[in-house]
Symmetry: none
DNA sequence: AATGAATGAGGTTTCATTCAT
DNA sequence: AATGAATGAAACCTCATTCAT
């Protein structure tokens, strides 16, 4: 096996690092252009301008390099989220609105790859695991927030926090996916607003703490 | 192409009809057992006990017979929905609850196939179209209901009915899919209740017309 | 094997005769349309409007029915030759001119099939034999004529009659084939005239019996 | 497509060149032994002693490698013609005799392949085109010669030069083909002589310029 | 005589991966 | 580190032909 991935193991020389990066970049281009199944290792090496054998110096398989592409995507999206929202949200509602909006925009900007990730997850346990982990991150965060709100009597307590978090995160993700598959031009702001409203209202957020 | 299916073309003799049905049944079994990608035409014909060539008398490809399996699944699920809920729901809330519960239960009973459908849709435009059409059916129905409620001042008017319908249907579907992929034993009733609540509350249904 | 061909063996009922003829006619159409290799038995039966199995009641194979088509073609061409030239030729030269012209015209009228016959002969010994026999008929006749002329001092005696006959018959046939394969519109009369001239002059025919 | 042949594309390394040549040589052997239709790619790779997949590194199909075999044959025959005839012919008659004789001998030496080329041309447009081009080369040369002779009053002017060239080249080729298909032992010299005579006399060559 | 469902042998081709250089 | 030729397993699908009705 070849684990020359994420930065661990043998440690690449600068030259190797460059070649590896060239391959990942090329792979992203080709994957977006042809889709996962239609992409051949041959296409990637052609795009990268390296020999066929070179590919296997850095990656074990098409799946492995797709993983690298996705890992890079995750990093990029995380960065966006970090730098994105700006001011610390004042309230849970604002936090939700901000998170939803950020996710929607990010998905839109990387729609092709995000959709592909979902598809590949169905074919490859490794990518599936990665996707599940990423999703669980969102769900966990959402669940904690819901629980906190419920504990503070700021959200309805008649729903199961875990189920609700799962459902609402799924809602946002699925909406973005559906949108991305549709040719229809969608008003991203309106969509984000509607999703936020459904989120907030769904968990029964009491907007402002009622006075005594 | 070979579509000796939906009722058109030369019309099969009873014998042919029997063989075709035998193939579809076998295919369902094998698909569930091995998954779509791992399933070979050879596996299906072996399971059906017919010659290799016989397969191609009735279907053009693995995708084509998967489509037939899905079509049968749709029919079965429709039947369930029809006979399911029983009494006519009194209110929108009851209608939503009933629809959500029915969908959740049906998905659970055919989880493997439903998940596969989603995966295959990513690989095959034909199946994708079928899936989109089925989804749109739900969305359309939901949208009409939301619009009607809004018109009657029984639902919040600050959300876009189409986006909301898309999101909420996606929520239910995605929740079921997530659940199906998870080994965790889930309380179907509780899950359905939570989903219904999110649905109902999300669109801001006014439960009972407020007294004066 | 199935020899229900040329009219011998079991003897077909009138109904059978009709079905057989329908098949041969359909086959000719399809062969001309698709070429030999591309033609499937399925295409022939579809064109004839009979069941697949019916084909094998009358013919053993695609080659067998092609043979029947060719046999019919030969009969038609013989008929043309017979009724064609009209008045008995006065001289060898006229006989040659008439024969060449008739052949050229007949080939032109059945070009597609004639070419196919040549192709199929390369794939099937049976059709090859048939073609060779047909060709030999021409060669034999030509050879006899040349010999006769040579014996009568009406043709050059410095050539081998058999080789010359083979070559000249081949010349005419090949010219027609070349022509048929070419899109170029060719002046059939001029072509026939040139071929005749080459024929006549080639064997050194002394046009008019030298005086004394 | 894969044409790693004629000198274009990535340019083979010496090792690749060797393997390719090995395949072409093996293919020629097998084609001659089994005929085109009966030859399987499996037979060729077995003969060449390479893996099945290796074949498709260099050729796209059986037709493609047959083309390469034919191209090699053409090169070999050209070489023979070049080095063959020896002294510059004194007259048109000698030129014709020499060309005919050379062609007859060359055809005899590669009869099996030449016949196959004709057959395959009927099945494959690519090979057909190649054959037509090769034939046209002969026809063009012949036509030019005839025209020149006619212009110089050294050949009969009552024939169309193009038709005559087509016919006479066809005659030679067809004679050779007929001969090759026949088991009969033929006197190559006598045959060549007869063909030349038919050629020369056919176009009405005036042997020696008439004295004053 | 006609039907048409069933058969199954069999060659083609792809492409991820290896390995000698 | 890079190369690229070689590998070979693997699955597809066609279609002529049979045969039970």
């Amino acid at each position: 096996m070849n684990t020359r991935a994420g930065g661990q193991s043998p440690a690449l020389t600068p030259r190797g690092e460059r070649t590896r990066a060239k391959l990942v970049e090329a792979a992203e281009l080709v994957f977006v252009r042809l889709g996962f199944v239609e992409t051949r290792v041959a296409d990637i090496v052609a795009e990268a301008g390296v020999a066929h054998g070179t590919f296997y110096v850095y990656f074990d398989s098409k799946e492995a390099i797709f993983r690298a592409v996705v890992l890079k995507l995750i990093a990029v999206m995380r960065e966006k989220v970090r730098s994105g929202p700006g001011p610390q949200p004042d309230s849970a509602v604002e936090a939700i609105e901000s998170a939803v909006r950020t996710y929607v925009m990010a998905f839109r900007d990387h729609a092709r790859l995000m959709l592909m990730w979902g598809e590949v997850a169905g074919l490859n346990p490794d990518l599936d695991e990665l996707l599940r982990a990423e999703i669980d991150l969102f769900i966990d965060r959402a669940e904690k927030m819901i629980t906190r709100l419920q504990d503070n009597r700021l959200a309805a307590r008649d729903i199961d926090a875990h189920y609700a978090a799962t459902a609402l995160c799924g809602m946002v993700r699925e909406f973005c996916a559906h949108w991305a598959k549709t040719d229809a031009a969608i008003d991203a702001d309106a969509a984000a607003a509607t999703l936020s409203t459904l989120w907030v209202r769904g968990i029964g957020v009491v907007h402002r703490a009622p006075p005594v």
